[in-house]
């Protein structure tokens, strides 16, 4: 059998889902027997490659960089998994949405607290622009599977991946998952 091409990406989230992934400990060795991690915050590839079998997406879509990479990820990946609550509901990353547009949020964060030299961060090409609304991944692109949890526990991730690789990867088949 061909080796499985696995990727993970990290958008607007705290990286807790990725930490939980690492918590799978020795099963990662098992995973390495049949899968290559072709792109991830854990590995040193700069470009998201073509022909990826499965990608775990952590985090919500909050800025233009997120949006751009997500579209590339979708185009180059067979199975997309919304991984954790931020990717699925927006979660803590989306708590800014009730404040209004990106401008309102930036003003609230950088001008209202009355710092010594109040200024909005602006570095075109370096600091990506915030989207007006933080979006769950499935509101931007098609998502095949959802694995909720903040973060999903290591045993849940493992069970989910085992089901997925065995060809019946429904998150519903995973051990009781819930938001939070």
């Amino acid at each position: 059998m061909d080796r499985l091409r696995l990727a993970t990406v990290w958008f607007a989230g705290c990286s807790g889902c990725h930490m939980s992934f690492l918590d799978m400990d020795e099963w990662l060795v098992e995973l390495a027997r049949f899968a290559d991690v072709v792109y991830s915050p854990f590995v040193d590839h700069k470009q998201y490659p073509e022909n990826v079998d499965v990608c775990l997406v952590e985090g919500a879509i909050a800025n233009t960089d997120n949006l751009e990479l997500l579209c590339r990820v979708r185009a180059r990946t067979r199975t997309l998994v919304a991984f954790g609550d931020c990717a699925i509901t927006g979660n803590v990353s989306a708590m800014r949405n009730p404040l209004g547009s990106a401008n309102h949020v930036l003003r609230r964060a950088y001008l209202d607290p009355g710092n010594l030299r109040p200024a909005l961060p602006a570095e075109p090409g370096v600091v990506p622009r915030l989207l007006d609304r933080v979006l769950p991944v499935h509101q931007v692109v098609l998502v095949e599977h959802f694995l909720p949890g903040c973060p999903p526990s290591a045993p849940q991730i493992r069970q989910f991946l085992e089901n997925l690789f065995a060809g019946h990867g429904q998150s519903g088949e995973c051990a009781k998952v819930r938001f939070g």
């Binding site: 609550d85 509901t89 509101q139 903040c150 938001f179």
Partner: protein, 238 residues
Amino acid sequence: MAAKTLTIDGQLVSAEEGQTVLDAARDAGIHIPTLCHLNGIQDIGACRLCLVEITGSPKLLPACVTKVQEGMEVQTSSDRLRRYRRMILELLLAERNHVCSVCVSNGHCELQTLAAEHGIDHVRFEYLSPRLEVDLSHRLFGMDHNRCILCTRCVRACWHVEGAGTKNVAGRGIQSRIISDLNQPWGQSETCTACGKCVAACPTGALFNRGATVAEMQRDRTRLEYIVTAREKSQWIV
């Protein structure tokens, strides 16, 4: 009282006249999901989660306010019902701001548990993300409108169990809000006795004890029923 015989999910059940379909089902060990129902306070059929199919009725009926009848045939978990329940729960999650991971009720919330039971792993509707208040003016309790599902369990507990009449609903439709007295900060209410019955009744993280942090709000759901039963049966120790 006369006994009524009916079938629920094909199972022959005998119930007392005047009992609701929900109670009859529960007595027979059949689980019907509910949100606005709470043992001990009167039912109003608001959340529609307990809808059941009854043979011969073109409408779906809420089990919590439908009385049993002789020969009734009740279906509690058809595909159609599960589909509707899922939709109701997703709409509730989309209407206000539910961030379970940082909620006082995380792990002890009826809405969160029901969503998991119904296999909801994402919400298909767009989140409304309304801007809502948190009222921390009361010395003992807080009210977070971000988490309120307008089940009115608090209102009914406040009016019918405590008899204070502090809690109420103002507004219409999506603008509806739970208010205290004449829509003033809870802490300024002249009628609130600070009994905490509304907090005990709340299924979500909307009402909480002040000082409770993430996942700390565990409530005893049987407390109100206990008080009401003791009152109705005069079980007070004199």
